[in-house]
């Protein structure tokens, strides 16, 4: 069973939920940018959450199915049709061999996911199929998918009951991103902290899976522009010398030398995966117990979906 890329999207990659356990070798986790959408997409077709799927960015692919398949699209809505007929998002749908799914430009956020029942059959490196583009590792030859790429699927024997009708998929409001205090919060005075939260930041065109460069109010450290290099958490908001924040994302460098003012909470990281250049959003500061609460709510939501699967 396989599918074939007839026309490649802008930046389509093979992803799962990431490659872990090797940050001490300088290899960051990578994985789906909108991890929540991928987890749900997999559950919809009856896959375990961490099943290999396809991530499409801004413009999707034209995909020919060489075999029957049961698939779901999750994440931001993109223009889509199956043999020129409408095709749903957030819904498990049967595809017949020979049918062509055409996924065009996004209608809202940056990314959508194509999940196939049984998962994609891609060679794993260190227990993960995730593509790490910056390191040219994982996925198909560490690269974005190209016209003519053929990917086998459906080899997974641990499939579960799919969710047939999913009514309330998560609404992604990316205008507010919640953060907790970062490791160098104390390096910034009240005036600079206030500036950071006051106005919206815009995602610049120099953004990718490694990090999002933001433009807006310049933030100045009252101490120094560089720290002694230390470990970098996912979602760290670093403030380099020019004062324009950089948000570390899934392919981030494992260590870094800029002071970190804040850090995106884990429950909002999926929103970052939907931000595209030109989008405006504000940061909102919350404390650690609130972040913990948000995470548990999200995990309980996933658990409630799983309850439908059994």
């Amino acid at each position: 069973m396989s599918l074939e890329i007839l026309r490649a999207g802008l930046q389509t990659t093979i992803q799962d939920l990431g490659r872990f356990g090797v940050a001490h070798l300088g290899i960051s986790a990578s994985g789906a940018s909108d991890n929540l959408a991928m987890r749900i997409g997999n559950l919809i077709v009856g896959n375990p959450e961490n099943t290999t799927a396809i991530e499409m960015t801004l413009t999707g692919d034209k995909v020919l199915f060489h075999s029957n398949a049961f698939i779901a699209l999750a994440g931001s809505k993109f223009k889509i049709d199956l043999d020129e007929k409408p095709f749903p998002f957030w819904s498990g749908t049967y595809i017949s061999a020979g049918q062509v799914l055409t996924i065009g430009p996004t209608l809202k956020g940056a990314r959508c996911y194509l999940c196939v029942r049984g998962g994609l059959q891609v060679k794993k490196i260190i227990n993960s199929a995730s593509t790490h583009l910056t390191s040219r590792m994982g996925g198909l030859n560490g690269s974005i998918l190209k016209k003519g790429d053929r990917i086998a699927f459906g080899n997974l024997d641990k499939v579960i009951q799919p969710i047939n009708n999913m009514e309330n998929y998560p609404y992604t409001d990316t205008t507010t991103i919640r953060v907790t205090k970062g490791l160098q919060w104390d390096w910034f005075d009240n005036q600079n902290r206030k500036l950071f939260f006051q106005k919206a930041y815009q995602v610049s065109t120099l953004s990718n899976r490694m990090g999002l460069r933001l433009s807006g109010e310049s933030i100045l450290s009252s101490k120094a522009n560089e720290i002694i290099t230390e470990g970098m958490p996912l979602g760290a908001i670093q403030i380099p010398g020019n004062g324009q924040p950089i948000l570390s994302f899934v392919e981030h460098q494992t260590t870094g030398g800029y002071p970190k003012l804040a850090n995106v909470i884990s429950a909002d990281l999926y929103k970052v995966g939907q931000l595209k250049s030109g989008d405006n959003f504000k940061f909102q500061l919350i404390d650690f117990p609130e972040a913990e609460k948000a995470r548990l709510e999200q995990e309980n939501y996933i658990l409630s979906l799983k309850a439908h699967c059994i």
Binding site: G21, A23, L25, S135, L183, T229, E230, G231, A236
Partner: protein, 231 residues
């Protein structure tokens, strides 16, 4: 264990905890970071998905189901146990380097900044005793300490678009090796024919945290004989 040796345990995000051993780069702090890192890599803590050692700290990142306070407690426990254990053995690694000879594009620049001639630069660089403080940043990248300060040369103002894997360079007070070809602003002085990072064997690093390094100057003929297929 003296009380002032107890590190700080700091929440870095709602999914990560930083264990901080000090505020400076020193051999003494490195030894403590290395001993702790070695311990937690061998005695894995459940729900810790990644460990990021650096000069004076170790960052732990957690999976989505871990209870932050429970993991904080387990990390503290790990540190207490690790503080009783012996420092892991340091490996000694020799890195053959062909200095200059088509690979030292910035030898003249280093010469201008340091006032040393080419053979003095090679002699000084080769004569140093180096230590890998940690690997991080990008795959297999070793943070190397120990270069003679007289070799310090500022980074290029405009980085090169592509520097080949195995290139030896000087960036301010540091020397280093590019494990993979990448853009870079270092002053290039030589090239090693051996693979520092191998995609086919990513977990088996040629240079690891805690290693002592010696650079060995080689000839072009030796370089060609040793040349491994670096990708």
């Amino acid at each position: 264990m003296a009380l002032n040796h107890t590190p700080q345990f700091i929440l870095a995000s709602d999914r990560s905890i930083l264990v901080k051993f000090g505020h400076e780069i020193s051999e003494e702090i490195h030894r403590r970071v290395f001993a702790f890192t070695d311990f937690v890599l061998t005695n894995r803590i459940k729900s810790v998905v990644n460990i990021h050692p650096a000069y004076s700290s170790v960052l732990f990142t957690l999976d989505l189901n871990a209870d932050l306070n429970e993991i904080l407690y387990l990390i503290k426990k790990s540190w207490e146990t690790s503080a009783q254990t012996e420092l892991p053995d340091s490996r000694h690694v020799e890195i053959p380097v062909l200095y200059g000879d088509g690979f030292g594009e910035d030898m003249n620049r280093v010469s201008q900044h340091t006032g040393l001639n080419k053979s003095e630069i090679i002699q000084s660089h080769e004569g140093g005793s180096y230590k890998v403080y940690f690997t991080g940043f990008s795959p297999g990248f070793p943070y190397i300490g120990g270069m003679d300060p007289s070799l310090s040369t500022p980074r290029l103002t405009t980085p090169r678009k592509q520097v080949p894997a195995g290139t030896i360079g000087i960036a301010a007070e540091q020397t280093g090796i590019y494990p993979l070809s990448s853009p870079g602003g270092w002053n290039l002085i030589g090239q090693t024919p051996i693979k520092i990072f191998d995609w086919h064997n990513p977990t088996d690093l040629r240079l690891r945290m805690g290693d002592s390094i010696k650079f060995i100057s080689i000839t072009k003929k030796e370089f060609d004989q040793l040349k491994e297929n670096v990708t």
